[in-house]
Amino acid sequence: MSKQLSNETLIEIKHIKKYFPIKKGLLSRVVGQVKAVDDISLEIKKGETFGLVGESGCGKSTLGRVILRLQSATDGEVIYNGQNIHALGSSKLRDLRQDLQIIFQDPFGSLNPRFLVSDIIGEPLKVHTNMTAAQIDARVVELMELVGLDASRRNRYPHEFSGGQRQRVGIARSIALNPKFIVADEAVSALDVSVQSQVLNLLARLQKELGLTFLFIAHGLNVVRHISDRVGVMYLGKLAEVGPTEELYNKPLHPYTAALLSSIPRPNPALKRERIILKGDVPSPANPPSGCRFHPRCPMAQDRCKAEEPLLAEALPGRQVACHFPLVEDGALERLAARTLG
């Protein structure tokens, strides 16, 4: 993306962990833990779109919710405005909700079917401001026009809107209070391509006009490439790689990133690329493999990978990767692809 990135950090995530206990039996004895997010540190810069990709179950949605404290963290800090969000009292947290918002995936489930669209968009205003009903209505009209909805339909129920329009309603709700930071959790994944592009453009425009910072969580790699300035790739609760979007897409350093990128189906039958097909499935986060979590599926795994966990470290300027043998040299990617063919 051509826009200038600021160096100011908006949100700093420090060693965030989120474990879910696995309970068993009558007495709900804790017999294990699902490490959905396992020690992730990350800085999100003001005004940028940080894309977070990964397969289902990798913990990307959980991370988004922990950052907003929609779920509590098992350990770690999320620093916003010099305060740790996870240490705030409930009234301060409620105030903070104005700055930190979320857009959901499901355009059907995320809107209360028994609320009028005007009530849905106006609800944050009702909760956080002292605006009168008329002021709220005026603001709802303004917001609906901003996101490209016909404001004369505001007193209708969500079921009368199409999927793309509902997603716009969700977006209008999330920007109602002029937030600074928005987590977009698979915000366009449920939409058809032609509608998806409309919503992506809307998000990009809103970012420009309102100076928003996005954490854009998605499994759709194309979408993330289009909208993000920087991208983080998650695998089994850990960050595998972080880097500026284009550099990461053109030259993935982690073998997992390489495999992920190579599996995107491309709308060009002439391009019979060498696909890196990974063996097996993502292991359960309740029982992650030893050492590098990717090693059982990695075509390049060596003994060291089984024993020692690689840490996220800078392998090239501005590029962080958690791999003992990152694909830094020229031709490393081709060798990886060749290896999977056998």
């Binding site: 209360n112 079917p113 609800e123 002021q135 339909r153 129920y157 002029n178």
Partner: protein
């Protein structure tokens, strides 16, 4: 627009800029539209409406004071003088008593249903939404209440505290909210996982706001169905208690009490039992039809099926290449 998104205070737009909003067709209207087309439910509604009108208009409708005894004209046949349904053994006008009994029976029915629904909804909502200890404790209370023989409890309380109208409503409510609580809890267990609940949390809506503004509204249809059915149950329960002499006390009267009185004269004048019996039967049947009607009307699964006849008509009209 946009660049300045200062919300709030000074954005009051003149009315002519704000686009007028169209009238929505909400879930209530949609349900009503379907409900209207159900003949059973509609006739139930009409019958119940007539009973309610009669109860409200009792002082004007009934020719006699229902408690006025006139031993000289006891046990009159129907249509004797202006005693439309005749009189009972104490010479009280049966029609007047039926109308006044309707007041009490219907009031008890609706009041018990209302109180039970309120108690049950609150307890069920808290159990279902918060889960954990609240759920365990409330649901055990429900279990205990369910295992106490209701009739016995009613008899006991009646024996200790005596019987009167308000106490009667209290007793019946306190022994019938458990079903609603279970129902609402089950509903909330599902509803609390909906994404709009998370959305509400993310904009800072409090738990009570989510329970009462967001979720109860979504659980309202099943609650209403349950409440209608409960009206019938309460009327029957009151009849039962009054029949046992533990309900309403004279000079008040209810359909159940009339039944109870009538049993002594079953052989002489069986019609004395038939009148209140028919009233109870009609009201309970009506509320059941209404409840079923609401349930059917809000069931989205009903899907129109293409009949072969329609298909043939369509083909004859539009199709060029039919087999």
């Amino acid at each position: 627009m946009s660049a300045q998104l200062q919300p709030a205070s000074n954005t009051e737009a003149p009315a002519d800029i704000v686009p007028q909003s169209e009238k929505p067709l909400g879930p209530w209207r949609l349900t009503w539209n379907k409900f209207k087309r159900n003949p059973f439910a509609m006739s139930g509604l009409v019958v119940l409406f007539l009973f309610i009108v009669a109860a409200v208009a009792a002082p004007w409708l009934s020719p006699y004071d229902p408690a006025r005894q006139d031993l000289l004209s006891a046990n009159l046949r129907p249509f004797t003088g202006d005693h439309v349904l005749g009189t009972d053994e104490l010479g009280r006008d049966i029609f007047s008593r039926i109308v006044y009994s309707g007041r009490i029976s219907l009031t008890i029915g609706f009041a018990v249903a209302a109180v039970a629904v309120i108690i049950g909804s609150i307890i069920g909502a808290i159990s279902g939404y918060f889960g954990g200890w609240a759920d365990i404790i409330f649901m055990r209370i429900v279990d205990v209440m369910n295992s106490v023989p209701t009739l016995f409890l009613n008899i006991l309380i009646g024996a200790i505290f005596g019987t009167n109208f308000l106490l009667m409503i209290m007793i019946l409510s306190l022994t019938s909210w458990m079903g609603v609580a279970r129902l609402v809890r089950g509903n909330f267990l599902q509803l609390r996982e909906m994404q709009y609940v998370e959305a509400a949390k993310s904009i800072g809506v409090s738990s009570w706001g989510i329970i009462f503004r967001h979720l109860l509204r979504n659980a309202s249809f099943p609650i209403i169905v349950n409440a209608t059915l409960m009206v019938g149950g309460a009327i029957l329960a009151e009849s039962g208690l009054s029949y046992l002499g533990l309900g309403i006390q004279p000079p008040d009267t209810s359909w159940g009490m009339m039944l109870s009185n009538a049993q002594e004269f079953m052989l002489i004048d069986p019609m004395q039992a038939v009148y209140p019996g028919v009233c109870i039967f009609l009201v309970v049947l009506s509320v059941n039809f209404i409840g079923d009607g609401i349930r059917d009307a809000m069931d989205p699964r009903q899907k129109a099926q293409l009949s072969p006849r329609r298909l043939d008509q369509w083909r004859a009209k539009f199709s060029k290449s039919t087999k």
